[in-house]
């Protein structure tokens, strides 16, 4: 994976994955080894996924070779037109937005975008949007509402960018406004958490009628690093923080925050991106199909009921 070292628990799997790719390129002469490596790879992938700790789950969700928003766009949609700018200050490359066709139907797409190599990662600011990005996303979602197109939102960010300029231009206001406006949007919204669901920066494009989440994605109120720093005042406690936060897809399904877990290829989406993308495609198809049966005018009320029910408290 370009320029980013694999975490130790994935080292063997990465090695096998690279060897397999080499053998597949080489053609017929390495046949016997190819079969051998493929078997070993499957064994190792099974072992890794069966023993994943919540912290390892976070690292897997951040894997640089996981499909990112534009990979899903290329794999599942046609006629993509990317739109730029918030009409106020700038165009934020950490969020992409535009229109495309999905099974022949026009849809709006918004999503966080991470880079793969070092230059691209910097350009995309590691998928951490500034307020301009959230405002661009809202602008495109409003266009979708105006032209009666459903919205598909791909969530994959470590969080909103905690920088000086972002604060100056109202990071908090941009996020807050999106939450309120998305709640009232009279067009269907399908959200898919594909990698990292990093706190408010993720939620800012994460309010919808159907919330899907990839099997190995995570979604949390704070990163395990941030949580360890604040509650334990010790970076080495990230493992405990990751466990305590209950941030895996299964946890979120149990907590009633997401509707569906989208299965990933064995070992994670990066092991077979094409398969992962197809898996997301069929989940999106199903979700959009269901939402098509709802009347536009009743969407906000249903969405309200959905989020209204979130949270646990006692009454005495």
């Amino acid at each position: 994976m370009a320029g980013v070292p694999a975490p130790p628990f994935l080292a063997r799997l990465e090695e096998l994955r690279q060897r397999l790719a080499e053998l597949e390129r080489n053609g017929p002469e390495g046949r016997a080894e190819l079969v051998q490596v493929r078997m070993e790879l499957e064994e190792e992938a099974k072992r890794v996924t069966a023993t994943l700790t919540p912290w390892q789950q976070c690292l897997l969700a951040r894997h640089a070779d996981r499909p990112h928003t534009l990979d899903y766009v290329r794999g599942l949609f046609t006629d993509w037109v990317e739109l730029h700018g918030d009409r106020a200050f700038s165009d934020d490359p950490a969020i992409v937005a535009g229109f495309a066709s999905f099974d022949g139907e026009a849809v709006a797409i918004v999503g966080h975008q991470k880079g793969r190599d070092t230059r691209d990662r910097l350009y995309r600011n590691f998928g951490q949007p500034r307020p301009d990005g959230y405002r661009k996303a809202l602008r495109v979602m409003k266009l979708a509402e105006k032209f009666r197109r459903p919205v598909i939102s791909f969530v994959d960010t470590p969080g909103a960018y905690p920088g000086l300029d972002a604060e100056e231009r109202g990071q908090a206001e941009a996020i807050a406004r999106n939450l309120r406006e998305m709640a009232a949007l009279t067009t269907p919204i399908v959200v898919c958490v594909t990698g990292e669901g990093g706190s408010g920066g993720a939620l800012a494009i994460g309010v919808g009628d159907r919330i899907l989440m990839l099997e190995h994605a995570v979604y949390s109120v704070i990163s395990p690093e941030g949580c360890a720093a604040i509650l334990w005042k010790d970076q080495s406690e990230v493992q405990r923080a990751a466990s305590a936060l209950r941030l895996t897809a299964r946890d979120l399904l149990k907590l009633g925050v997401i509707d569906e877990i989208v299965p990933e290829p064995l070992g994670g989406a990066h092991m077979d991106p094409a398969l992962a993308i197809r898996s997301v495609g069929s989940a999106l198809r199903r979700a959009l199909g269901e939402l098509r049966r709802w009347r536009r005018t009743e969407l906000p009320a249903r969405r309200y009921a959905k989020f209204r029910a979130m949270g646990q408290f006692v009454e005495r």
Binding site: A172, L203, V221, L231, V257, P300, F307, Q312, F313
Partner: protein, 276 residues
């Protein structure tokens, strides 16, 4: 009764000022007579520093004759994740309740402001840094729904470090839940005034605190999304003086007004009159 209580900068009181007849201003370190400070709404008469006050004191300041009725006081936090850091979350909750902070991190009151009925929801910093968990989200959402039902204006007074980590992603979802309720209030054209006090950060700023028809801050309050330390680590430089303070936000167009505490009630009443 003690005459002096030492309050070093690093061990500042969280919400209520320490007991004692005399205390030191947290702004200018001047020794002040407690009764004087109280009469001045806990604003230092010398340097104007606005000391943090409890939610109960705040409601007392804002409602006519200090009279109001508590709403949704029966809603409490629970421990959905069985969260344990240095102490179990369940134990923290119990300890706070036994200490007498009974309102969780939000106190909701119904009363009159200069004769006009309104609901005020004020955050209680002494309850886990005013952090927003499910109970806070539920109480505020109910307050908004009550405003819709009874056609009342809403005033929130934020004072919070953000979402409550101990309730994980459920805390995060309170931001969406409250904002969705505010979308309804917005559509119903009922006034919502958001007051931001020191500090207002994280998920509270990034949800209801920035969504007021008017956003009004007390002077010198720290207001932002990311905390100053996180930003310093990100950009690897010291932040300029006054960054993320009320006056800075006013200058950058994020606030309508910065209003000293003794003018707050008057200002709120005047704005409400313009809107209803």
């Amino acid at each position: 009764m003690v005459w002096f209580k030492r309050t070093d900068r690093d061990s500042r009181p969280t919400s209520r000022l320490p007991e004692g007849l005399w205390l030191k201003c947290e702004g200018c370190r001047e020794i002040l007579y407690r009764k004087d400070l109280e009469r001045g709404l806990f604003v230092c008469p010398r340097c104007g520093h606005h000391h943090r006050i409890s939610a109960r004191t705040r409601l007392g300041h804002l409602f006519d004759d200090g009279k109001w009725r508590e709403l949704f006081g029966s809603v409490f936090s629970t421990d959905p994740l069985s969260f344990v850091d240095s102490k179990p979350y369940a134990e923290r909750l119990r300890a706070l309740r036994e200490k007498g902070v009974r309102c969780d991190a939000l106190l909701v009151g119904l009363g009159k402001i200069k004769g006009r009925r309104a609901i005020v929801a004020a955050m209680e910093y002494a309850f886990m840094g005013g952090s927003m968990g499910s109970a806070v989200g539920e109480k505020l959402t109910r307050a908004i729904e009550q405003c819709l039902k009874s056609k009342l204006p809403l005033i929130t007074v934020a004072c919070s470090g953000g979402a409550r980590m101990q309730e994980g992603v459920l805390s995060l979802m309170q931001m969406a839940k409250i904002s969705a309720a505010l979308a309804r209030l917005h559509a119903a054209a009922l006034p919502f005034l958001s007051v931001l006090t020191d500090p207002t950060t994280g998920g509270v700023t990034a949800s209801f605190a920035m969504l007021g028809d008017l956003n009004i801050a007390e002077p010198g309050a720290l207001i932002g999304f990311a905390g100053p330390r996180v930003i310093e680590q990100t950009i690897r430089q010291k932040l300029p003086e006054g960054f993320q303070r009320s006056e800075f936000l006013l200058e950058h167009g994020m606030l309508d007004l910065v209003v000293p505490r003794h003018e707050l009630k008057e200002t709120l009443a005047r704005c409400l009159a313009h809107f209803s």
